[in-house]
């Protein structure tokens, strides 16, 4: 990057500066020189200069956007061409309630939909399941059958809008439902765009939507890959997620490492099945958290992109440059929101959103300030969306691609994140005897991931308790306050109405076709065949989410997770 003599000169000057200028100043001002570290615990120096990135080769490691290794972005012109998709995670109550909220968001300038499901749907339970009691429509929309999807997408043209679905064990069912809606609307399947989360590995590490055991879970994900590349080629078939790992208390490094490890595991599983990697790769997407440490987050995003490009090209041998892209969605950190002085959350979210944008995200969700209390109210959602719009239209940060690139600190930190993440990946690979897929499964079995994350969460909490880390409004600058924030309440009648609808559908549908389709799912699962054609058939005949997942549970068993505190 630089002539050797020049570098030596800089290093010498730096030493001189440290000894004379810096240390004198510290002495004079009695300032401390230790205890500065990133949110992930990476030790930080007072200043970075070219000597900190002496081994970084500009063309090899940083380069230009739209080209390998994509450190600076996947598109050559990034936001000059098209802004990121402003995608607000939303859903509650019945399909009607959510359809109404979606239409409001689209009117307000949102450019993509993102579906929050309620817990019973997420867990593959019907609304009338005893375990669903009290949870129907609470944290998202309740979906039992295709009927709910028909209402949900009423008046929303699937050829114009892309939709993201945060759903995991029932991901295949939801993709089938969405495809069925496209068929009904007369939109060609090749045209529909969107994302299913469909990432079970991180559920075992962190998010805990536990239904089937790990191995059949991965098998079904690969089924969805296989079906998806043929049927819905513009649809992201997975959103490999670090978001939840971070929410569960991991560091940024762990988030980066475990997400990429999971991604490698999925790619290996797909290759084992015989899926063409270059065909699948464009349909893989990622999902990260953006937390409070601004520079660390930017570095994480840049490192992630560079690592994935190397992995896809050099480890898995993808030929098409398009396959080397890491496209990712970002959500600001839910766990950083405080119940105390809730308006402060707007500021936190702004900083986090800015990091996501400067890190080159493809889509972004900004949290609402009232979410430590309840589902967001309309006003709070609007402010959150406006936060993105102000960054996009007023701040000017979109005019230049990767504006932080070349900052010695940011480049050093990007390298550091990558280096630490590779260490984890090597460790996982070793657990798997050279296979990332086996390594990740092993790490789930022996509690490796859960332990790593729990330890990080406890360490962070200890630092907060001991006053080593500050959270404004919580352990610093606290006030006595009476909280008056308007809170969205879900109509308590939702559960009853949803169960009524479910009963009606069960009475009216062709139950013999349902049974036939469910039997087909069962035999496909038993014979290790792709279940997706059978799932699509079941969905079309208004089989319920609970019936389909229930059939799979009968074949594969349910997962029991050892408790690791």
């Amino acid at each position: 990057m630089m002539e050797k003599d020049e570098m030596l000169e800089i290093e010498a000057k730096r030493r001189e500066w440290e000894e004379k200028c810096y240390k004198d100043w510290l002495k004079k001002t009695k300032a401390k020189d230790e205890g500065f570290e990133s949110l992930s615990g990476i030790e930080l120096k007072a200043i970075y200069d070219p000597s900190d990135v002496a081994h970084t080769d500009f063309l090899r490691d940083i380069g230009y956007p739209g080209e390998f290794p994509f450190t600076r972005g996947v598109y050559p012109n990034m936001y000059r061409g098209r802004l990121w998709t402003m995608r607000m995670f939303s859903g509650f109550g019945t399909a009607e309630d959510t359809n109404k909220r979606w239409k409001m968001l689209l009117r307000e300038g949102e450019t993509g939909l993102s579906t929050a499901f309620d817990f019973p749907t997420l867990m593959g339970l019907d609304s009338d399941d005893p375990l669903a009691d009290g949870e129907v429509g609470k944290v998202g929309v309740a979906v039992d059958t295709l009927k709910d999807f028909e209402i949900l997408f009423d008046g929303i043209p699937l050829d114009k809008i892309s939709t993201s679905f945060t759903i995991n064990p029932p991901a295949g069912i939801i993709l089938a439902m969405y495809t069925a809606i496209a068929d009904m609307q007369g939109v060609p399947r090749e045209e529909i765009r969107g994302t299913i989360q469909n990432d079970m590995l991180k559920e075992f590490h962190a998010q805990n939507t536990l239904v089937l055991p790990p191995e059949p879970s991965v098998k079904i994900i690969v089924d969805i890959f296989e079906w998806g590349v043929e049927n819905v080629p513009k649809f992201n078939l997975i959103s490999i997620s670090g978001y939840h790992i971070r929410e569960a208390g991991s560091t940024a490094v762990q988030e980066l490492a475990f997400t990429i490890a999971d991604g490698m595991a999925y790619v290996e599983a797909a290759i084992e099945r015989g899926i063409d990697i270059d065909k699948l790769a464009p349909q893989l997407s990622f999902f990260f958290n953006s937390h409070n440490d601004f520079f660390e987050e930017v570095a994480k995003f840049r490192a992630a992109r560079r690592m994935w490009a190397k992995i896809m090209r050099d480890i898995y041998g993808a030929k098409n440059p398009r396959s080397w892209w890491m496209k990712f969605h970002v959500q600001t950190a839910g766990c950083s929101l405080t119940a105390q002085q809730p308006l402060n959350n707007i500021i936190r979210t702004t900083i986090q959103a800015l990091a996501a944008v400067l890190g080159g995200c493809q889509s972004l969700h900004t949290n609402s300030f009232d979410e430590a209390w309840a589902l967001p109210s309309e006003e709070a959602v609007r402010v959150a969306l406006r936060t993105q719009q102000i960054i996009a239209y007023e701040s000017g940060v979109t005019s230049v691609v990767d504006p932080l690139g070349g900052s010695w600190y940011v480049e050093w930190l990007t390298n550091k994140m990558e280096e630490l993440a590779w260490k984890y990946i090597e460790q996982i690979k070793k657990m798997g005897g050279g296979s990332m897929l086996r390594g990740v499964l092993k790490g789930i079995e022996n509690g490796f991931f859960v332990k790593e994350i729990s330890n990080a969460a406890a360490k962070y909490q200890r630092e907060v308790e001991e006053g080593k880390r500050f959270i404004v409004g919580v352990n610093k600058f606290t006030i006595e306050e009476e909280l008056k924030i308007p809170i969205l309440k879900v109509d308590p009648e939702v559960q009853r109405r949803q169960i009524e609808r479910l009963r009606k559908i069960k009475a009216e549908r062709d139950n013999s076709s349902v049974k036939e389709a469910l039997d087909w799912i069962k035999s496909a699962a038993e014979n290790n065949e792709n279940i997706m054609p059978a799932v699509f058939e079941a969905v079309k005949n208004y089989a319920t989410v609970g019936e389909i997942i229930g059939t799979l549970k009968k074949v594969h068993g349910t997962y029991r997770k050892p408790i690791i505190v």
Binding site: T558, R560, K561, P562, I563, I564
Partner: protein
């Protein structure tokens, strides 16, 4: 709840009384001795089964599967699981091994009124059990559980206290866990009435079984027994089928895949057979007598210690010993003679 209410509650199968009695005994609250005195006549009816083994071998899974199995056989099952507790803070995380996560996990165990599950902290004690585990077992026994499982801490080292409470000791291993020396040193091989090699779908299971078999065969008693057997009997011995070939019980070796329930009912059969054998052979009486002896001596020692603390100035006495003014033997003789002959 006072002591009378607790005792009567235990006899009339009141669950809260049972739970509270355990709290009394575990914490040595005033009245705990009275509870233990009152229930003693009703103890000795349950079959107490100890489960021990290295961490990660699947003790808890086997226990929950065995519980399901014994429930099917109409037995009431009480469970005591001992978890490590810190000797420094006194705190502990308990019961997290048996209680698996996931909404279909252990449904039966969770709400079945015929199952009672209680976790105990070892409170820093070595040996695999808490100081009061034996007393807790008595309370469960008096309440009327047919089967009582006691699961040790599972640290894998020197957890031999289980023989002091269990009628049948099940030692659980898995393929390739630890090496032979580690296992031998842990001291758990000698205490086994039944061996289980769990996770039998893993590689190396034959090797572990073969090694265990050689260990069993080497024990003196077994060598004696086997000298009277023909080759054809050997298989029956290993399966636990033969146990009345002589006066000796030959620990059978079971293989299980507990999370799929494989081998569990055979293991339960074997556990029942061992109990039968112990009862008929007089082994049960022998074991319980030696247990009563240990317990009685512990109680006596405890009482004496309390008396000494009450009657003598310990600090002063100890000082004399440390300063070499007196030797501890003489001091002990003096104390005993004062306790015995002076009032």
């Amino acid at each position: 709840m006072n002591v009378d209410e607790i005792v009567n509650g235990i006899f009339s199968k009141n669950r809260r009384a049972l739970a509270r009695a355990i709290t009394y005994v575990e914490n040595e609250l005033p009245g705990s001795k009275e509870i233990l005195k009152a229930i003693h006549s009703r103890t000795g009816r349950a079959h107490v089964i100890g489960l021990t083994g290295f961490p990660g071998v699947g003790k808890s899974t086997i226990m929950s599967k065995l519980t399901e199995e014994f429930r099917k056989r109409g037995k009431m099952v009480g469970i005591v699981a001992v978890d490590p507790g810190s000797p420094f803070t006194g705190g502990a995380l308990l019961g997290d091994r048996l209680r698996m996560e996931g909404f279909d996990a252990n449904k039966q165990l969770w709400v079945d009124p015929g199952v009672f599950f209680r976790s105990m902290s070892s409170r820093g004690r070595a040996g695999g059990l808490a100081a009061k585990t034996g007393d807790v077992v008595k309370i469960l026994d008096a309440y009327g559980f047919d089967i009582i499982f006691v699961e040790t801490v599972g640290a894998g080292q020197g957890e031999v206290d289980i023989v002091k409470v269990a009628d049948t000791v099940v030692v659980i291993l898995m393929p390739e866990v630890g090496d032979d020396i580690q296992l031998s040193k842990a001291g758990i091989l000698e205490i086994a009435d039944i061996f289980v090699v769990n996770k039998a779908d893993l590689e190396g299971v034959e090797k572990t079984v073969r090694w265990l078999r050689s260990m069993v065969m080497m024990s003196e008693e077994v060598v004696q027994t086997l000298s009277t057997l023909t080759h054809a009997d050997e298989a029956r011995v290993l399966s636990g089928e033969i146990f009345k070939v002589s006066n000796h019980w030959v620990p059978p070796i079971h293989t299980t895949i507990a999370d799929r329930g494989v081998g569990i009912s055979e293991l339960a059969d074997s556990i029942e057979k061992h109990y039968e054998y112990q009862r008929k052979s007089g082994g049960l009486l022998k074991r319980r007598s030696s247990r009563a002896k240990i317990e009685l001596e512990e109680i006596i020692l405890g009482e004496i210690k309390n008396l000494i603390k009450k009657k003598f100035n310990y600090t002063e006495i100890l000082k004399e010993i440390v300063e070499n003014k007196k030797d501890p033997y003489t001091v002990a003789e003096e104390i005993i003679s004062k306790l015995c002959y002076e009032r």
